[in-house]
């Protein structure tokens, strides 16, 4: 495929709001994870909560008010993203700019609150509960389209933790086919009890902080995040999406195929599409959730495709696992790495698990990068790999 230029991008997570906060924290090693309270959570775990965003939406956006759309709104306001989209809208027209947003749970936290406020007699949900504009999976994509005054094709992709990697693939297809001229892609997922207690039911939540690839890792720390990128073939930026790969495990709903066969297929598809050899990839941002099964399977896949020398790390030690937003967050990390010339270390990894043979970075390295691969995998055996680079 022809590289698709990324005009601008933004990311907000527990690490902070915007690109600069992330570039800083990723270089210094300051995690956004904390042991803290959230809602009525009673589980002993670390959380990646975004600070200072949780204010009600008002005016024309009031009907869309819920934690997830509040986070979308806060994330859209960083890094001059609104202005960049406005310029793009003026250039192409509102109907020629698409909106593709990944989420796993959208505004389900609003439904949790509504269930607590059921009428004790009738069992009815409270009148303030607007399912369409909050809980529904499409809500966040419709909200973003409305907020950005875009009227092109709009959809939500929801493939669990690969959701907001796959938006890059969908948007690239739509632009290549002429369905739209440019696209806003993004991912937004916010903390809720559904995912906390759900992952806890699967015994995947760690009481310790998330330690990807560590020999004593115990599971994930859940985080929340929102991020967006503007894909525009006419942009002046040198950053670009070089290729994407999508594949299925065909193995199990909530465990990865142990040999990483789906991951191998998605990574090879991304490289093949970009006509880039494995040795031309300078750094891999891992899915790296910090569960025993994920990190082992992903390492096997990496070793199969790249061998053991390619530097790689998970950045979930900074952000936690931001689920449906993880693809976008780690796309942004990959782009920051290329822009600033560094490879973040595997934060919180003390002793590398001997079963993991991939080239896990225990120290941050500072050097120019040509191409970076980002992996995102999800329940249902959903795999997506994105290859980013700089056009010269």
């Amino acid at each position: 495929m022809n590289p698709l230029r990324i005009s601008t991008y933004t990311v907000t997570s527990a690490v902070g709001a915007g690109r600069a906060a992330h570039a800083q924290a990723l270089r210094t090693g300051a995690t956004g994870l904390r042991k803290q309270e959230f809602d009525t959570n009673t589980l002993d775990c670390w959380l990646g909560e975004v600070r200072e965003f949780d204010v009600p939406l008002t005016g024309a956006l009031a009907d869309w008010d819920c934690r997830n759309n509040r986070l979308a709104e806060f994330a859209l306001n960083q890094d001059g993203f609104l202005d960049a989209v406005a310029a793009c809208r003026t250039r192409y027209g509102a109907t020629r700019v698409g909106v593709f947003v990944g989420t796993s749970t959208s505004g389900v936290q609003h439904t949790e609150l509504a269930y607590r406020a059921r009428d004790p007699q009738s069992n009815a949900l409270p009148a303030w509960f607007d399912q369409r504009r909050t809980q529904n999976i499409f809500s966040v994509a419709a909200f973003v389209a409305l907020r950005l005054a875009l009227r092109g094709p709009a959809l939500a992709i929801s493939t669990a933790c690969s959701s907001s990697a796959k938006v890059f693939a969908a948007a690239r297809r739509a632009i290549a086919a002429g369905t739209c001229d440019a696209a806003v892609v993004g991912g937004v997922d916010s903390l809720c009890l559904t995912t906390l207690y759900g992952f806890n039911a699967l015994q995947l939540i760690s009481a310790d902080v998330c330690r990807p690839a560590d020999s004593a890792r115990q599971g994930i720390s859940i985080g929340e995040a929102g991020g967006f990128a503007l894909l525009d073939p006419g942009a002046g930026s040198s950053l670009a999406l070089f290729g994407y790969g999508e594949a299925s495990d065909a193995y199990h709903m909530s465990s990865p195929e142990p040999g990483g066969k789906g991951a191998i297929a998605s990574m090879r598809a991304a490289l093949g599409q970009a006509k880039v050899a494995p040795r031309e990839v300078d750094y891999i941002n891992l899915h790296g959730t910090g569960t025993v099964a994920n990190d082992n399977a992903e390492s096997r896949a990496i070793c199969e495709v790249f061998g053991t020398a390619t530097p790689c790390s998970s950045t979930k030690g900074w952000t936690g696992h931001t689920l449906g937003a993880a693809g976008m967050v780690e796309a942004a990390v990959s782009l920051l790495a290329i822009e600033h010339g560094f490879m973040p270390r595997s934060l919180n990894t003390r002793i590398k698990d001997p079963a993991i043979e991939a080239g896990i970075l225990l120290e941050t390295r500072f050097e120019p990068l040509r191409q970076v691969l980002s992996n995102s995998f999800g329940f249902g055996g959903s795999n997506c790999s994105l290859l980013f680079g700089r056009l010269t």
């Binding site: 109907t95 389900v108 529904n136 959809l155 086919a177 299925s248 193995y251 055996g381 959903s382």
Partner: protein, 263 residues
């Protein structure tokens, strides 16, 4: 862009229990009679997954299997696009209810089935395919958004694709907050090249035009009763081999114009 070919159709809706029976009704060969859709047993699934398959997954499989029954193409050769507004609101209900209790206990099976792409995951296991798969939502425009995404996969990525759209009613107390009148699912197998049995060539474009209704008032109620059955105007043209355009609801300001021509 190049055309996409409709190989087969799968259907599972009240009174339209399969493409064979439903297409005859859509052609007007006999009147539409509303009848409750029986719960489907997905025979393609391994025993463990069949046991865990929810009504939502069974519904998606019913239309998907119906579309695969009429083609020589192997399920393993197809990329998939699953399109659903809400996937499984019964699970959302059970989880949100469990979260109001003490202690909070969520069934692990419920949680892994709660992901929007659960049906896609089960399908890849059933079909034994590592092909690309995506799952989308666009509220009442979910069928059209899924059709557009599936066509783009065929045209841009050069694969043959299976599209499956499905939704089913919410339990109380969610039901009045998300009106879905009955379960319905629609599947299309789409190919790059025409085959001996292609029903039509299809091309999609966004449009500001209004969506195409159905003339029959009973069928129009079915169309409006579920996001998946918003596909019925397209399915009626395919049933009649009437090569004309329809407009399907997709997103605010961007409906989907679907042009049909002889394959």
């Amino acid at each position: 862009m190049t055309a996409v070919y409709v190989e087969t159709v799968g259907l599972a809706a009240p009174g339209l229990p399969s493409w064979r029976e439903g297409s005859a009704t859509l052609r007007g060969e006999h009147p539409f009679v509303h009848a409750v859709l029986p719960l489907h047993t997905p025979l393609l699934l391994p025993v463990n997954e069949r046991r865990r398959a929810t009504p939502a997954i069974r519904l998606a499989f019913q239309a998907a299997e119906d579309s695969m029954n009429a083609t020589a193409l192997s399920a393993a050769s197809l990329a998939t696009v699953f399109a659903s507004s809400d996937a499984d609101l019964a699970i959302i209900h059970r989880i949100c209810l469990a979260l109001t209790a003490t202690p909070r206990f969520i069934s692990p099976t419920d949680f892994h089935n709660s992901v929007h792409n659960a049906a896609a995951g089960y399908w890849s296991i059933a079909a034994g395919t590592r092909a690309a798969s995506t799952t989308i939502s666009a509220y009442d425009g979910s069928f059209a958004a899924g059709l557009l995404e599936a066509c783009l996969q065929v045209q841009v990525d050069g694969c043959d694709a299976l599209l499956v759209a499905f939704d089913l009613p919410a339990p109380e107390p969610l039901k009045p907050t998300r009106p879905i009148a009955f379960p319905a699912a629609v599947a299309l197998v789409l190919t790059r090249q025409p085959t001996a049995q292609s029903l039509a060539a299809l091309s999609c474009a966004t449009t500001a035009a209004a969506e195409t209704p159905l003339a029959d008032t009973a069928l129009e109620q079915v169309r409006l009763g579920n996001p998946a059955s918003r596909a019925l105007p397209l399915l009626q043209r395919l049933a009649l081999r009437r090569f004309e355009g329809v407009v399907l609801p997709m997103a605010a300001g961007a409906n989907l114009s679907v042009e049909l021509s002889a394959p």
